[in-house]
Symmetry: C2
Subunit: 355 residues, 2 copies
DNA sequence: CGCGTCTGCGCAAACGTTTGCGCAAGATTT
DNA sequence: AAATCTTGCGCAAACGTTTGCGCAGACGCG
C-alpha cells in the first residue's frame, strides 16, 4: 500500500532520494539512509515489483521452472524435492520462483516463448532435457538466461547445466552386480530420447566393454513412459524371456519398482532369482519390499545449486558458463544379491541369503 | 521485445486503439481488430506483464502458493501432485503460478505480508492450515484474495476453502476395522495443531460414540512431525504397549508407513497381528509390503479445484464465499484384516489369511 | 436541413520506480 | 581569495500499458 512517495512526503524528501537511500547509493549519507529505512519500516513499505520491473527491463525477481507436462514429477517425491530445493536456491538471491504449467493444447515451447517475450521471468530452469532439445536451441538464440537440469547431447554450444553422473552410477551398478556373479543383464529403458537415458546406457555399455567378458550378455527392454499397463507388459515379457536375465538395471526407480511388482506377481524372488537396481532414490524405493538398491543424487541439493547457478547467470549474463556434474551415492538395500547358481534351479535351498 | 507502440506505428494507429483492439473493446470495429491481431502475431507481441500490473493495481497473472517450510510436501508425491493440479487449475484462467519459499530465518507470515504489500501476486493459496491460523487472520484483514487447502476451526468468518472430509473417512476406517473384530484401537497423530488432525480425530471419536461398545478402547500416540528417529520411538513404544492395540489408525500415510516399518522390525505381522490404515494414498502406500489401506483424496483434482476457486475469487472479490468438502475414496490393500483372536496367541495358524 | 446520436479513434494522465543530469552549498585545494 | 571538488539532494524522463475524456465525421430522425 505504501509507496516510495509516501516515505518521501513523510520525510520531506524527494522520491529519488528515497529510492537511492533504499538502494544504498554512495552519495546518500548514513543519517538520511537511516531515517528513510525507519520510515519505510514504519509505513510497512515494500517496493512495487511491477514498477521496478518496468523500469529495469527485467522482471525483477522471478525465475521460472516450466512443468513439462501434467504428469511430470508426479510419480513420487521427485518434483516436491526439486521445487523445495530450487525455491531455497532462488530465495537466497531474493528471487521468487515461478512455475509455468502447460495449458491444454499448448506446447511447452510456446509457453517458453511467451514467458520470454512477455518478460514474465528473468530466467528459466529446464527439466527433462532430451538429446536434441528445441527449448535449449530457442533460449540460446534469444540470450535469455537459463540453466538446464540435465544436458543435451551436443557440445556445440555452451550453456549452464546441472546434472547427475549417470554414466558413473550405471557403471558402478554393473560392476556391483558383476562382482556378485551376474552375467545375464537386462537394461530397462524408456521410449523417449532423454539425455539421461543416453548417459546411463553408456555407463553400462562402457563397463561391459571394460570387462571384456564374453559371458556377459545385455538385453534391452524399452517401456513407455506413461502407460502403466503397457509398462507392466514390457517388464513381464522381459522376465519371461528364456534364458531369463538375472539382473535388471532400471533407468530410474519407478521402472525398477515395476520390476519388483511384476516379479512378485510372477512369484519370482528378489533378490534370490533376480537382482534389481534403480536410480533416484525416491521415497517409495525405501518402502518397497525388498528395499530397492538405487542411487541417491540428492535432488534437493542439486536443485538448490541449479537455483544458485541461475541467479549467478542472471546477474552476470556474460560470465563463463558453468556446469556441475554430481556423483550420486549408491544406496544399498535388499533388491540385489548374488547371482542364482547356474547349475541348479532349486530355489528352496537359497532361503535367507542376505541379512 | 515488441511493444504496443510498435504495432501502433506499423499500422498508423495510436497505442490506445491497439490496446483496446487487443482487449476486445466494444467501440473498435472488427476490421481494425483483425489488422491489429495480425500485426501483433507477426511482430511476436506479448504484453509486458509488469506494465499491465502497474496500471491495473494488481499483479496481473500471478497467484501464489506459499511453501510453508522446506520440508513441506517432500515426504512423497504430495507436493508434486498438488503443484501440478494447482498449476492446471490456474492455467485454465490464464494465471501463472508463483511459489514462495521461506528463506532462512524468515517466518511464513512475513513472507505473506511481503507478497501482499509488494503486490507480487493477485491471490494466494494456503496449505497446512492449523486450528487457529494467523495467516488466515491476516489475509482476512487485508481483503486479499485467498483460498485455503484445509480449514481453520473457527466459523467466525467466511472464506474460501477446499478440504477433504477427514471426519467421514476416519469414521469409515473405524467402522471397517470394528466390523473385522477389532476393539483395541490406537490413533497415531502428530504434535502440531493442524486442523485436519482435529477433524480426523473427531471422525474416530464420533464413530466410537455411535457404537457405544464398552469393549472399545482408544489410545493416542503423538509423534513429532519431522524427527524420524523420535517418530519411530513413539511408534515402537505404542506397539510394545500391553495390551497391544490390534488396529492402528494413522493420521496420514507417512505415519502409517512408519508403523509398517516398526512392526517389521519387531517381527509383528501386518495384518495378522496388527491392522494399519493411513490417509492420502501417496505412492509409497502402494509400494509398501503389505500394501497400505488408505484413503485417496485425489490431491491433483482438489488442487485444481483450489486453483479454479482462487481465480473466481480474484475475478469477483465480493462474491459469496464458496467451499468444497471432498469425500475421499477408501483404497483397500493388505494392511488391514480380521482382529487376531482374543483367546489364542499362536500366530502360525493364521498363515495366508487374505488373498 | 438542423439536431442529436453513434462510431472510430487519439490525447494525455496515471501506475511506482529508477536514473542521468544538474544545482546549490559547503569543503578542499592552489 | 579564487578555483575546483565533493556532498546532498531534486527534476524530469522513461519503462509499457490502460482508460477517461474528447473530438471529428458519419448517420438517423423529424
Amino acid at each position: 500500500m505504501a509507496t516510495i512517495k509516501d516515505i518521501a512526503r513523510a520525510l520531506g524528501l524527494s522520491a529519488s532520494t528515497v529510492s537511492r537511500a533504499l538502494a544504498g547509493h554512495a552519495r546518500i549519507p548514513e543519517a538520511t539512509r537511516a531515517r528513510v529505512q525507519a520510515s519505510a519500516e514504519e509505513l510497512g513499505y515494500a517496493p512495487n515489483r511491477a514498477a521496478q520491473s518496468l523500469v529495469g527491463g527485467r522482471s525483477s525477481g522471478f525465475a521460472g521452472l516450466v512443468l513439462t507436462d501434467p504428469g511430470y514429477g508426479r510419480e513420487d517425491s521427485y518434483l516436491g524435492d526439486y521445487i523445495q530445493g530450487l525455491g531455497q536456491g532462488l530465495a537466497e538471491g531474493g528471487v521468487d520462483m515461478f512455475l509455468a504449467a502447460i495449458p491444454q493444447g499448448q506446447s511447452e515451447l510456446s509457453v517458453i516463448r511467451n514467458i520470454v517475450t512477455s518478460r514474465r521471468a528473468d530466467g528459466l530452469v529446464l527439466g527433462r532435457t532430451s538429446e536434441v532439445d528445441p527449448r535449449v536451441d530457442y533460449l540460446m538464440s534469444t540470450g535469455f538466461p537459463f540453466v538446464t537440469h540435465g544436458r543435451v547431447l551436443s557440445d556445440a554450444f555452451s550453456y549452464n547445466w546441472v546434472d547427475t553422473d549417470g554414466t558413473a552410477a550405471f557403471g558402478a551398478a554393473f560392476d556391483l552386480l558383476y562382482a556378485l556373479g551376474h552375467r545375464r543383464f537386462a537394461l530397462l529403458t524408456i521410449d523417449e530420447p532423454m539425455t539421461f537415458r543416453h548417459h546411463r546406457t553408456q555407463g553400462v555399455v562402457q563397463a561391459i566393454e571394460r570387462r571384456a567378458d564374453p559371458e556377459v550378455t545385455l538385453t534391452y527392454a524399452t517401456a513407455p513412459r506413461y502407460d502403466p499397463a503397457r509398462r507392466q507388459q514390457v517388464v513381464q515379457d522381459l522376465l519371461l524371456r528364456r534364458p531369463r536375465p538375472t539382473a535388471v538395471i532400471a533407468l530410474f526407480d519407478s521402472l525398477a519398482l515395476t520390476v519388483l511388482q511384476v516379479a512378485e506377481s510372477l512369484s519370482l524372488s528378489v533378490p534370490d532369482d533376480l537382482s534389481v537396481t534403480g536410480y533416484d532414490n525416491i521415497s517409495s524405493a525405501a518402502m518397497a519390499r525388498p528395499g530397492l538398491t538405487t542411487f541417491d543424487s540428492d535432488t534437493y541439493s542439486s536443485a538448490r545449486e541449479t537455483g544458485r547457478m541461475l541467479i549467478a547467470r542472471i546477474k552476470e549474463p556474460d560470465a563463463e558458463c558453468r556446469s556441475l556434474l554430481i556423483p550420486p551415492k549408491l544406496v544399498l538395500r535388499a533388491s540385489h544379491g548374488p547371482a542364482p547358481a547356474h547349475r541348479t534351479t532349486t530355489r528352496t535351498m537359497q532361503q535367507g541369503g542376505r541379512p
